[in-house]
């Protein structure tokens, strides 16, 4: 009998949200996580319960039922599905490592498919805005040290990124800003969120009114007069005061969330937000940073961009990368019924995608690689259990502000369960064999 001893891992990088805090202290005994210090509610629940509710064996659909099978059989079956497909979709990628993304794109090249990550349903419009205007951004430490005006727009980090405010913004301690009273915090949202309750000022706006309000603000910053009394539910005087606060701060920042990207106007909202911040830099120092959600959605964009030139929605069916959001995006490919097979990695499109997209997904063979059962696993043709990045396996991930850090293994994975990288490499090797054989 082996006696398990307790091990303490300091400075563990949390693989939950885009904040990727790297100060968790995790105590483990064998495969069991005993305690997590410095974690937020999200990381506590992730780390303490990581073993609950897992996929534990590869499954393959036989006679209409998902049945247990060998790892090799699942690899073979997956490779056949992908290699024989005309136009497969490879989707997910934001809750796994950069290394897995690197293999994923090579696989997409070999099978001639579309590879898209979860950006497509969250900050896709942000990237479209960046293509149009640019981006005026910085690493989170810049906010810690310098920001005296912090604006959250359509974002609720108290729930989505629980330690964001404490570690990186209003409540952090920096070189030139020592405490909360050295900073002004403003929240702009459609309802008084828990984040708004922490703010010095909360500005409620009417739903879908972001574009108009942002335009009015841009006018006010430029010194133009506002003709209307109320814009998007906000009095003109409030807008002018806000513009003045933005101009007169020493270092300001806007953090924005899906309240901006997924409401009416979408990338136009981002366009005008980026333009506003660009204009502000003629008057003072101002940055704008999107609140990226998944712990490695940033990495999915970065890897995709350095390999293909484009950050998401990359179509490789012609043999070279093609990018046309609205056409090559996962939801559109599915809604049109174009793809004839799908690989889903560390994501759950069935529960997140529009129903028309899901309707097509259930009709085609789907291969799912996921540590946990999801709404997508029961409709799959093949299911691979996999190791959890940041707990059972390591790998590089990219924080919401573009800083790459390397996660490490802290507990052993359940026996026989492979990492995303290993599974994808095995599928790729098999696909290469099939394709080379055909040639």
């Amino acid at each position: 009998m082996t006696v398990l001893s307790k091990k303490i891992f300091p400075n563990v990088i949390c693989t939950f949200c885009g904040s990727t805090c790297d100060d968790l202290e995790v105590t483990v005994e064998g495969e069991k996580v005993l305690s997590v210090r410095s974690g937020c509610s999200s990381s506590l629940s992730k780390y303490l319960n990581y073993r609950a509710d897992r996929n534990l064996t590869p499954l393959v659909r036989k006679n209409g039922e998902l049945q247990e099978t060998s790892y090799d059989d699942a690899i073979r079956r997956s490779a056949e599905i992908l290699a024989n497909a005309n136009y497969p979709l490879l989707y997910g990628w934001s809750s796994t490592s950069n290394e897995a993304n690197r293999v994923g794109i090579e696989l997409a090249e070999w099978v001639g498919g579309v590879i898209d990550n979860t950006t497509t349903v969250c900050h896709g419009p942000t990237l479209l805005g960046v293509h149009d205007i640019g981006e005026i951004s910085g690493s989170l430490g810049e906010i810690v040290h310098r920001a005296d005006l912090i604006i959250y727009w359509g974002a609720n980090p108290v729930h989505s990124h629980p330690h964001h405010i404490m570690r990186y913004t209003s409540m952090s301690t920096g070189r030139f800003r020592l405490s909360r009273k050295d900073r002004k915090m403003i929240v702009i949202d459609v309802r008084k969120t828990d984040t708004a309750k922490l703010a010095d000022q909360f500005i409620p706006i009417t739903p879908n009114g972001d574009y108009e309000l942002m335009c009015a603000l841009r006018m006010a910053v430029r010194g133009d007069e506002l003709e209307q009394d109320v814009i998007s539910g906000v009095p003109a005087e409030t807008i002018e005061e806000l513009a003045e606060a933005m101009i007169s701060c020493q270092f300001g920042v806007i953090f924005f969330g899906l309240g901006l990207t997924m409401t009416e106007g979408r990338h136009r909202n981002v366009d005008v937000a980026l333009s506003l911040v660009r204009d502000l830099n003629a008057r003072t120092k101002f940055l704008i940073i999107p609140m990226r959600g998944h712990f490695n959605v940033g990495g999915a964009n970065e890897v995709s961009a350095w390999v293909t030139g484009y950050p998401y929605a990359v179509d490789l069916s012609q043999g070279y990368p093609r990018y046309n959001p609205g056409d090559t995006t996962a939801v559109d490919v599915l809604v049109r019924g174009d793809c004839d097979a799908a690989l889903v990695v560390a994501s759950d499109p069935i529960s997140n995608f529009p129903v028309e997209a899901s309707r097509h997904l259930v009709k085609i063979p789907v291969i799912t690689i996921d540590p946990h059962p999801s709404a997508t696993t029961p409709i799959s043709e093949v299911v691979f259990p996999s190791q959890i990045v940041g707990i059972e396996t390591g790998g590089d991930i990219v924080r919401m502000d573009g800083v790459t850090i390397m996660t490490k293994t802290i507990v052993p994975a359940p026996p026989g369960i492979h990492s995303d990288v290993e599974i994808l490499e095995a599928i790729l090797a098999h696909v290469k064999k099939i394709k080379m054989g055909k040639q």
Partner: protein
């Protein structure tokens, strides 16, 4: 083991004094050897030129800034695509090619080593991920110092030795090769939205001047015995009249070295070589700068040549990029990196009919033609800032052919043409001199003893170009020259044929060079203890999560040196 014999070509190996003599190059186990056995694979290079593989000293090919440029500009990629094949990966160009495409395109030009010259310390893990995905070529990167709080604080307090130990730690942590300095002090000012002017302005909150930073880091560089000099992008980049800042920066380190070794490399001098007092009278400061370089041994420079095209400008000098955004109205990317540095990107079109652009084009070429010793001026475009690296053959033709220059001069802005000295310069580079400015000189400046030449023991990195120097006069037949240089007949990397007739045939993973300079144990532990305290206060990342392990690189190649401290 695998042996190769490259037969009967005209060899240009300036480091070994070989200037176009017919000779055979023998290769065994990835190295140049005296001779090979009869079983060697023979490459017939009759009527062709043989040179060492190209060594690029300054080309932005990888890292968060380059990738931000890719994300910023889908319109740059759409018309320039590379297909996936059984051997090669898919990819896109144009001015900011994807990583695999970058490796292939360099190899096709006969280049086998490339250095990424600006990587933020905090984000260098990303740079190495991209370098790992850049096939064929050997590579390395220069981490950014000179706006980082640790360096400025150590130097302000006169603690040069501790600064050296800190920089050694950082180079080890980031797997960096040399010290890059961009707009010393000026980027910290820009992180407040402010600017410094010249070398004597104080950095806000840090009570230190750019001059003190450059001198201090130059001393550190020598204490650490790093293979390359400090690699400097000066203050006042792109400002009118900035040639004086360039000369002042060169002169600020004069006398800091004991012997005649170079002390400072000033990069992309074209961007910092302007005379004048306003946009309408901008002129070339190349004659003044060249005069200084000709009279002082402690300086090397690279051109940063402009090519007339649409490209993507990118630098750690965020303030400069904001000015370029204001001038051009094009889209603007800015990224400030906590504690350390910044970055900016602006797409830009160099137009031959634009007065200032035409002057810029002239400055680069004047520099290369007026600096007498080719071992101290290197050919770059500061890729992609002056244009992308695939335009090198065009630049070589301008250097080798007065006729090629005249062709271009006839088409540029006439006011600029009248103002430049370029029309009067009749110097034409020889093939040997081209070999110096594109490989031998750069390898020497980088301290890569096994590169840039074809002597016994050198890495078997070889380029073969289908051009016969006894039949083709590059001065007259510059178009043939360009064509031959664009697609190497053969590129050999570590003894393996990677390019044949301009096409990729094999894609090995090149090395990543980095420098480990060991300082004394006592100094090391003292500085590490200091850093543990400051790190928690300065960074949003723990010190232990910051440093990279050797095993994180796909093909790590550590160069050990012993520091003086």
């Amino acid at each position: 083991m695998s042996e190769l014999l490259v037969r009967n070509g005209f060899v240009y190996d300036p480091q070994n004094g070989i200037e176009g003599e017919k000779a055979d190059i023998s290769i065994s186990n990835g190295k140049i050897v005296e001779s090979v056995g009869t079983g060697a694979v023979v490459i017939d290079a009759s009527g062709m030129i043989i040179m060492p593989g190209g060594v690029d000293i300054h080309s932005h090919i990888a890292g968060s800034k380059v990738n931000a440029g890719r994300i910023l500009r889908p319109e740059d990629h759409v018309k320039d695509v590379e297909r996936h094949t059984a051997i090669t990966r898919a990819g896109t160009g144009h001015s900011i090619p994807s990583t695999f495409t970058t490796g292939y395109r360099y190899a096709k030009l006969g280049y086998t080593t490339v250095f990424e010259p600006a990587t933020p310390l905090l984000k260098t893990r990303h740079t190495h991920e991209e370098l790992d995905d850049t096939p064929i070529v050997d590579k390395g990167c220069f981490p950014l110092f000179g706006n980082d709080w640790h360096t400025m604080e150590y130097l302000r307090q006169g603690r040069v030795e501790e600064c050296a130990a800190y920089i050694a730690w950082m180079l080890r942590a980031t797997k960096g090769y040399a010290i890059k300095i961009v707009n010393p002090g000026g980027v910290e000012a820009w992180r407040w939205g402010r600017y410094l002017v010249g070398l004597e302005d104080k950095v806000p909150n840090f009570d230190i001047t750019p001059r003190e930073i450059v001198r201090g880091i130059c001393k550190v560089n020598q204490l650490l015995h790093l293979p390359h000099t400090i690699h400097v992008h000066t203050n006042d980049l792109a400002k009118i009249g900035n040639y004086q800042t360039t000369i002042d920066t060169m002169d600020s380190v004069r006398g800091l070295g004991g012997d005649n070794r170079p002390l400072i490399h000033i990069t992309h001098v074209q961007f910092t070589g302007r005379t004048g007092s306003a946009w309408h009278n901008v002129g070339s400061g190349a004659p003044e700068i060249a005069d200084y370089v000709n009279k002082h041994d402690h300086v090397t420079v690279d051109m940063g040549q402009v090519v007339f095209m649409n490209t993507t400008t990118m630098t750690a000098d965020g303030g400069f990029q904001y000015m370029l955004y204001q001038l051009s109205g094009n889209k603007w990317f800015n990224f400030d990196v906590e504690v350390e540095t910044g970055a900016g990107i602006v797409p830009y079109t160099y137009r031959r009919t634009n007065y200032v652009n035409a002057i810029q084009w002239g400055i680069g070429l004047e520099l290369a033609l007026l600096i007498k010793d080719p071992w101290r001026v290197y050919m770059t475009t500061d890729h992609p800032n002056g244009g992308d690296f695939t335009k090198y053959p065009k630049i070589i033709s301008w250097l080798m052919s007065r006729k090629a220059r005249e062709k271009s001069l006839a088409r540029i802005n006439s006011t600029a043409r009248n103002k430049l000295d370029l029309p009067d310069l009749d110097r034409e580079y020889s093939f040997s001199e081209i070999a110096v400015v594109t490989r031998a000189g750069t390898a020497k400046a980088l301290g890569l003893k096994q590169k840039g030449h074809l002597g016994v023991g050198a890495d078997a990195d070889v380029a073969v170009y289908d051009i016969n120097p006894t039949k083709i006069d590059p001065s007259r037949d510059f178009r043939l020259l360009r064509r031959a240089l664009r697609k190497a007949a053969f590129t050999i990397k570590d003894g393996r044929i990677v390019v044949k007739n301009g096409e990729i045939v094999e894609t090995p993973i090149g090395r990543t060079y980095w420098v480990d300079s060991t300082v004394s144990e006592s100094l090391k532990s003292k500085v590490e203890a200091d850093m543990r305290k400051t790190f928690t206060k300065y960074y949003t990342i723990n010190m232990d999560n910051y440093a990279m392990a050797d095993s994180e690189l796909a093909n790590s190649h550590r160069i050990n040196v012993k520091a003086e401290v």
